[in-house]
């Protein structure tokens, strides 16, 4: 641990949240002399890299200064009254639950900015693109850093407009309807969530408060069972749309497929986590009885999501199904997030730790996969599996060995190969389901566990099919469907720079899970007292 004073820590945390917002405003202004670069477009894209880089640096220092011996305590905490009329405070802080997500967000956004600097998605002015990216970063970072329910809601909503425009303006085919579907689904969920948050805050013990720390400490004291059930339902619905939980997931495949590469990366890597983070941070400690009431249903829906996502992917991966690779990764997200939700639904330390681990792992791995698929589309002009694979397979191993290798690496990481990040989260989630919290039906959870285990098998199935059809094959295939398929350029320098961190962290998290679990476990124990496992 780096000895960093409290004031500096507070400053770093607030700066990391505010800096992107200021950067977004600056991105819309003309560049000052001396920073003009080779043109306005290049200057603003570089500005994006600088700002996200500075934010990443701040979060890294924050991590180093973080007291790793007490990850259950809120650190870098600062609180200023903002709207006394509603009791809303500008309350920031991080603990072991939020810190990994905070760093992941800063990292992924930086990598996206870096990638866009070299490979700007086709669309209108980059000035707007960079500004939207930075506003998006501000909203996501704020979601993980604020400790006031209303600010959480504000941050939750803040990401919608930038993501809408990123999809609608820089996206691919079908972007208009997809962007609409994304924003309407999420809004419907978040308005209901607002009602739930108000119910919790206004009925809190000892007078209305929206302070998340206070509410978590109270563990639902003073809230009647009915209130808790109503609040848990409302909040849970809003978060479940975002997570997404089957059957509220149907916005996700469209949005991911239509979004530009960096949009997909951030959607999968960060935005989905806002939902699951809300479950752990607000729902479980804030309304424990309500959470217990709905845990079996949440687990059931999560398991259906796992199976459904895998089956959809299998269907897409079949020969002749004309499945879209991007869509397939999107459906695999539904399955992976199913494991996260299953872990949360067990209400045990093991399960919730697994969920938080799987969150990070999914952010790293799926982020990498979306980068790769996006780059593949840029190279070949298609993500249609049948077009890519032709008669024998796309043969990326032969045409672009490093690219193919990295894709295969992402695929096996995603299927949960032991030794890589994807393994631990799913294992712990299933382990949690083996011994769910007292009060939950064990037989039901054993069934869920068995079905989840089946899901891992199915995941392995479709991921290996993808590897076989895309990475393997005859590089000298006589008549490929597209001329662009004859030669596929291998990984370029900037791609290497953008993707290596994700691959390295995937391996690191797989080999040394204690680094992450050591952070989350004490915090989870603090949020869920009275649970033995």
């Amino acid at each position: 641990m780096l000895p960093v004073s409290d004031t500096v820590m507070q400053g770093l945390l607030v700066a990391a949240v505010v800096l992107p917002l200021l950067g977004a405003a600056a991105a819309l202004l003309p560049a000052p002399p001396g920073l003009r670069g080779s043109g306005p477009d290049q200057a603003v894209l570089r500005h994006g890299v600088t700002v996200t880089g500075a934010v990443l640096a701040a979060t890294v220092v924050l991590t180093l200064g973080f007291d790793h011996d007490n990850p259950d305590a809120m650190q870098a905490e600062s609180s200023v009254s903002w709207i006394p009329a509603l009791g809303i405070r500008l309350h920031f802080g991080v603990d072991g639950v939020s810190l990994p997500l905070f760093v992941l967000t800063a990292l992924l956004t930086f990598l996206c900015a870096l990638y866009s600097y070299f490979k700007m998605p086709a669309g209108p002015r980059p000035q707007t693109f960079v500004a939207l990216l930075l506003v998006l970063e501000c909203g996501t970072l704020a979601t993980f850093a604020v400790l006031d329910l209303m600010l959480f809601f504000l941050a939750f909503e803040m990401v919608l407009i930038p993501m809408y425009f990123l999809i609608a303006r820089w996206g691919g085919e079908g972007r208009g309807p997809a962007a609409w579907k994304f924003i309407l689904y999420t809004l419907l969920g978040s308005v209901v969530m607002l009602l739930g948050l108000l119910v919790v805050g206004l009925n809190a013990q000892g007078g209305p408060t929206f302070d998340m720390v206070e509410l978590a400490e109270a563990h639902g004291a003073g809230l009647s069972h009915t209130t808790q059930v109503v609040a848990a339902l409302a909040i849970g619905l809003g978060l479940a749309v975002k997570a997404p939980m089957w059957p509220l997931h149907s916005w996700l495949p469209d949005a991911h497929t239509a979004a530009p590469t960096v949009g997909s990366v951030l959607l999968a890597g960060v935005l989905l986590k806002m939902g699951t983070y809300g479950f752990v941070r607000i729902l479980l400690p804030g309304v424990p009885e309500g959470a217990e009431t709905f845990a079996p249903y949440l687990a059931a829906f999560a398991v259906v999501g796992i199976i459904y996502g895998s089956l959809a992917c299998l269907a897409l991966a079949r020969r002749g199904a004309r499945g879209d690779l991007k869509r397939l990764i999107a459906y695999s997200s539904v399955g992976h997030m199913g494991f996260v939700l299953l872990g949360i639904a067990t209400l045990t330390h093991t399960g919730v730790n697994g969920a938080l681990f799987a969150n990070i792992a999914h952010g790293l791995i799926t982020g990498l996969l979306f980068f790769l698929v996006g780059a593949l589309k840029d190279r070949t002009g298609t993500t249609d599996m049948d077009t890519l694979a032709g008669t024998s397979g796309a043969a990326l191993y032969g045409k672009a060995p490093r690219f193919g290798g990295l894709l295969a690496f992402g695929a096996v990481a995603s299927l949960g190969l032991p030794g890589l990040a994807g393994f631990w989260g799913e294992l712990l989630a299933l382990l949690g389901a083996y011994h769910p919290a007292g009060g939950l039906s064990r037989p039901a959870f054993l069934v869920f566990m068995a079905l989840g285990g089946l899901g891992t098998l199915l995941t392995a199935g479709y991921m290996l099919i993808v590897v076989r059809r895309v990475c393997m094959g005859d590089p000298e295939e006589p008549r490929p469907a597209l001329a662009s398929l004859r030669t596929v350029p291998d990984i370029r320098g900037y791609e290497f720079a953008a993707w290596t961190p994700l691959a390295v962290l995937t391996v690191l998290a797989g080999l040394w899970p204690a680094a992450l679990l050591g952070l989350t476990d004490p915090a989870v124990q603090h949020l869920l007292p009275g649970v033995t496992r």
């Binding site: 903002w82 709207i83 006394p84 009329a85 509603l86 809303i88 209108p124 909203g139 209303m150 809601f153 504000l154 909503e157 803040m158 919608l160 407009i161 809408y164 425009f165 609608a168 303006r169 924003i183 309407l184 809004l187 419907l188 308005v191 209901v192 607002l194 009602l195 108000l198 119910v199 206004l202 109503v230």
Partner: protein, 546 residues
Amino acid sequence: MTSATAALQQTLQHGAVQHIPGGGAQDASATVPTAGGLVQSVDWTAIAPPVITAFVALAVLVADLFLAERHKRLLGRLSLAGLALAGLSLIPLIGEDRTTFCLTDDPGVCSYVADPFTLVIQLLVLGGALVAGLLSLTAVEDEGLPAGEFWFLLLSSAAGAALLPASRDLATLVVALEVASLPAFALVGLRRGERRSSEAALKFFLSSVTATAVMLMGVSFVYAATGSMHLATVAEGLPATDSRLGTLATTGVALTLVGFAFKTAAVPFHFWVPDTYVGAPLPVAAYLSVVGKAVGFSGLILVTLRAFPSYGDVWGPVLAVLAALTMTVGNLGALRQRPERSRSAVRLLAWSSVGQAGYLLVPIASAAYADSARDADRAVGSTVAYALMYGVVNLGAFAVAVLVTRTSPEGRLADYRGLMASRPLAALCLGFFLLCLAGLPPGIVGLFAKVTVFSAAVDADLGWLAVVMAVNVVIALYYYLQWAALLFRTDEAPAPAPAGGAVGAPAAHIAPSGVLTATISGTAVLGVALSGAPQLFLRFADTALF
């Protein structure tokens, strides 16, 4: 027009005249020995805001007779100066809680009270009238409206609207309501020789008059049951009504509320809104959407909470159902607007204002379920805070609409396509206003205004209403966002211009208006400032207004 003047005069003297026979007792604040109590001292500072407005209205009317045609522009400036002065006259009243026109034998019962509630609504009304006036400066010239009449009517209506929140007896309330409405009918129909304009005025007039008649009947019933016009006395008298008069009292309460429901354009009294807004000159529509609403809502608040609190179990559920219906009908109406239709932009704003009226009703309905008077006041504070937000943002949206309509007189939503390319500032501002109305960041004012309304409903355990409102918020988001997205759309071909239309043609002949730009920027700056410091307007949701 003359009737409006007469009514105004009557209003201003009304309080004094009514209470002369009190006899003997001294004035509330005064040590002035009066000649047998026949003369009452009037607190001129307290009544300054409506009086200044009314006085300037008369001054404009007279000046119009003596001014040469080329100097008529001065009338607009004079009127705006008058409104600004009236607004400034609020400053000495802050924190004073002044009363005047009190009963001589009971100084606690007054007809005119300048409490925080009054001041906030007066600020909203005068500010709204000022912004509508700024928008009218160009519109009066562009459309060739008769300047003298226009400014006189606008100011008279504003005077009535400023009087209304201060009135604390039913008679003054009704008179103020009429003073605010009668000039508005004429304003709507002021475009000479245009069929749509006069049709709108007639529609507005007929439905409004019917509502007034019903309301007067209700007021007379209440008077018959309680023997008083003063809200405070009525509130005390109603629970103690002779049981044989119970039906009369209940009918009176219900009928009185109908009149105010009309002014707030609550369902089923909303039919006049779209046609009236479309037929009226745009600044007048802006005025009606903000000041007209403020009048209706402050009247409704006064009547329900000050006069009929004991009938909360009657009007509470009724208002809750009205709120749910109003927001649903309004938002569905707005959703149906086709962008290609002529005047669809104003039509959408009109329907959305009906929807917004539904949200404004929610806290008033919640007040009926409040456990204590303080909670009820807090709930009403949410309505006031929401109305302030809505006033700023909606006037801003109308200001942009005025700007765009100058170059594209058809006023279709489709005309806003790609506005970002041609007028980036206006497009950004309109986008911001629409997001505020929708309640989505970066429109943080709108978001927190909605949060207060929601929390009022949740606090009152009106869960079903909160859910209905949640669904409505999403519906509204859809059409607001669609409009906002239209502003930034450039890739598609521009909408085909109607045959022979000048739509989209370069508008070199129309000089850019500095006033209009300033108004748009001003409202936008105010909106952004409120977004950064929502406490500025949300504090009304937390303080005792009465």
